[in-house]
Amino acid sequence: MLGEESKIAARRRSEVATGGSSLTGKSWCRALATLGPHFGVLLVALSVGCPGYHYTSRAYFANTTKEPVNVRVQTLQADVDCASMDGRSAELLARRELFGAAITYEVEPGQAVPLDLDDPWHSQRRNSCAALVQILGFADQVVYWPSATGYVTTETALAEGSDPRFLGQSLRLEGYGNVKGLAVGHALEVTALPPQASGAPPADTAPATLGWSGAPRTGLGFMLFRREILPDGCLSLELGKDLDSRWVLFLCVPEWAFPFEVDTKLNITSDQILPEPRGYYSDPGDPPAQHLLVQAADAGARFELWLNAQAAELPAVGKVTSLGPPGRHTECGAYAEPVSVELPALSATLLPGEEAKQVVKGKTTRVLLGRADQLLIAPDACAPDFASLGTRFDLLMLDTPEVTP
């Protein structure tokens, strides 16, 4: 606990040193003051001598009552395509699992607290556009500031009650005694959350699940020794150059997609392609595209599977088009909207879970589009497939040559 608080204090200092955009002035003093109750007298004494400070922020909480109030603020722990959230924050961001550790502030009467406190370690890559605000006596509030919201700078740590911009961009606690209420600035979208542990609908599942486990080898002439179906419908395959060097591959594809019989010799290629950098930097969280190619050694059927692919990586793919809502919420809290994938050679555009088939000169090409997502919310807690923004899809392609009698 203390370690975490120390880290928070250190971050605030770092922000001042690097000229962070969301907090300016001697904001570390406020952080120290906030931490006072946890550290005891020492930090409180340190903060007493702080000079005045001011804030620059796109959203505020303000206490306009006559009494101090404890406010917990949780920042986003997810990459969010903020521009896509305008008008949809209640639907997409009103989920507790998207928000991280809480910081508690004791907000004195008349004081303000800025809400767009980007974690400076992530400020290079993470847009902040929402915070979860918890105030004693009220339902928890998700505060979203739309992408076009400008910054408002305060003169001091006090709420700027006469500044219409400040009022428009603040969630304010108002009233007296037991009669208090929350006022929401017109520029914000604020959603009250249901209580913790409230029952929730089941998470949505992808329309088609493709993938593999195991460590496929690359090379020529692997014998397929065993082929079985696992209880979840995936294939369990045993391959090797000989009986002593067998390895297993668990392949999640429809049964038709892997037409190779036991005792067939196969040539296999398995590789990864790192994603194109987004903007100035490459996000280490972006998963590489994975590629598995299996072809009968006698130049028979050819199986190809791409996971987490982007259009630029696949020559066979034309336009990838975002289809917009409705999307799906995954179990880890990610939100994805479907995309369609164009396959010019097949004159087809597929939706997630759709198949296409073409027969040309006796060769049958069959294609299945698996997951095809534009990730708009990507929580840190998700597996790599869902932990970063972007458009990615899984694509299965099977070429079967004409069987000559």
Binding site: L136, A139, P195, T205, L230, P231, D232, V248, E331, C332
Partner: protein
């Protein structure tokens, strides 16, 4: 000595830190515990040692499982019976706390079922963190094989970035496993948990001439960063195995244990779930595993709590897998197993009462109260499953009446119970909510409110003890007071009542 512990399982008790205590009821009915953790021993130990645990260490399923709950007779005429009840209490604010509870039990005595030999597949993670507990694995494998019956079989698969079959169908008393070792961990090796479970599924089929039951025992740190890493897909594989009749026990390893995925797998509804903090713990747990008998009773269980007019579904406790669908709370389990355990020297520390069930808050619409009036149904419980022995689909429904109108508070600060003899479950929930609120508020830096919770709850706990003198609630109360002391020692804050507090007020 074979000590009978008859517990019908969504999951069978098993833990590092559970004292030996049966949940056998005097009636001969066997209570169903929710699968997953079976105690909160570590959480309590930290408090006893003067610490304030992190909120994540209080597992609701484990906490409930420590409590012995009386249940009505399992006389519904089916292999699994469900028992709904209702409590209505004042909240600490102006509201009303309306809570439904559903417990399960069975009249089937597992000792009347012939023992089947079992083919156990031990799937062991080989990462460096796991190896700190498993060591080379030889001793664990020897212990497990030694504790199995002669007609049982043991196979072992290891998994890191790749899975390997290390032992195939070893016969207890005959096979020499002294040379079987887990592969040494490679530097920066990832863990393909899906691949490990899939390899275990493959190993189940290797003994084509074996006739009997199957079981997978998974030793994992919870890491899954190679191969198929998406948790729902890993759970889906485990669930398909359970649905096919293979119970799935999960033993957590290492100081860096990440419980989220193992817990989800354990809560599928079959087998043990435990954490081994040392090699000795792990040895004890695998031996205990060998003594467990699991008889499949029911498949595709579905429980639906359907609120009556005037109510809607609020919070849900006791079953993380429960969801809200079409306005009803729904809990599904792929299979239910009837379990017995050979005695057991459970490892250390906690209590084991076999309690648990599904709690569903009913949010009353006060405006409908006058219209609906008193003595009307608050919810309907719909139960369905497949009786595995009979091969028949079973379904039945019952209603629970609220003696008060929706949203009406009892006139005294004492709950209105639909079945007063079985009200302890609700007090157990309240004690859980108190402890959870205290550690939550403390973690958020709100020490005053954390302390305030304990002062609000103390009269209710005292009143409960005055009336019933229940040993489980007494331990909970002591834990709460000790936690208060620990928080006060750290923060010296003035207690204040928290807002939006979830519990009901049980004090006069």
């Amino acid at each position: 000595m074979r000590q009978g512990i008859l517990v019908l399982l969504l999951g069978l008790a098993g833990c590092a830190g559970g004292a030996d205590a049966a949940s056998e009821t005097p009636s001969g009915s066997r209570g169903v515990t929710q699968a997953g953790a079976q105690d909160a021993a570590y959480f309590r130990r930290l408090i006893e040692g003067g610490s304030i645990p992190e909120p994540g260490l209080l597992d609701q399923v484990g906490f409930f499982a420590e409590h012995a709950l009386n249940q009505p007779e399992a006389d519904c005429g089916e292999v699994v019976c469900t028992h709904p009840s209702l409590a209505v209490a004042p909240r600490f604010d102006d509201g009303t706390w309306t809570m439904a509870f559903v417990s399960l039990n069975s009249g089937v005595d597992p000792e009347t079922r012939p023992r089947q030999p079992v083919h156990v597949v031990l799937a062991v993670e080989t990462s460096g963190a796991a190896r700190e507990v498993t060591q080379a694995g030889t001793a664990i494998i020897e212990k497990l094989l030694g504790a199995l019956e002669q007609d049982d079989r043991l196979s072992v698969v290891s998994f890191g970035e790749e899975s390997k079959l290390l032992l195939k169908g070893a016969v207890p008393g005959q096979a020499d496993v002294s040379q079987v070792e887990l592969p040494a961990p490679a530097k920066d090796e990832k863990v393909d948990l899906y691949g490990g479970i899939a390899a275990a599924a493959d190993a189940l089929k290797l003994q084509s001439d074996f006739v009997g039951a199957t079981r997978i025992v998974l030793l994992t740190t919870g890491r899954a960063d190679a191969g198929i890493t998406d948790p729902p897909r890993i759970e889906s594989l485990a669930e398909s195995l359970v649905r096919a009749g293979t119970p799935f026990s999960v033993l957590g390893l290492s100081r860096s244990f990440d419980a989220s995925l193992p817990r989800s797998i354990a809560e599928l509804g079959a087998g043990n779930y435990a954490y081994a903090k040392s090699t000795d713990d792990l040895s004890d747990l695998v031996v205990q595993e060998a003594g467990v008998r699991l008889v499949p009773l029911a498949g595709d269980l579905q429980i639906r709590v359907v609120p009556s007019p005037g109510y809607s579904i609020g919070r849900i406790y006791g079953a993380r897998r429960a969801t809200v669908e079409d306005g009803a709370a729904v809990l599904r389990a792929p299979a239910l197993f009837l379990g017995t355990r050979k005695s057991a020297s459970d490892v250390e520390g906690g209590r084991r009462g076999g309690g648990g069930g599904l709690f569903v808050e009913l949010v009353a619409d006060p405006s409908s109260g006058a219209k609906i009036g008193v003595g009307q149904a608050a919810f309907q419980l719909e139960t369905s499953y497949t009786d595995i022995d009979a091969g028949a689909d079973v379904s039945f429904a019952s209603e629970v009446v609220n003696g008060l109108s929706p949203g009406e508070r009892p006139t005294e600060n004492w709950p209105h119970f639909s079945t007063p003899d079985y009200g302890k479950a609700f007090m157990m929930l309240n004690m859980y909510l108190a402890l959870r609120a205290m550690v939550d508020l403390h973690a958020a830096g709100d020490c005053g409110a954390a302390l305030g919770v304990s002062y609000m709850m103390e009269p209710g706990a005292d009143e409960w003890q005055n009336r019933f003198d229940d040993p489980d609630i007494n331990v909970d109360r002591d834990t709460m007071l000790r936690l208060r002391e620990n928080i006060f020692n750290e923060c010296r804050a003035v207690p204040v009542p928290p807002s939006n507090y979830e519990a009901g007020c049980f004090s006069l």
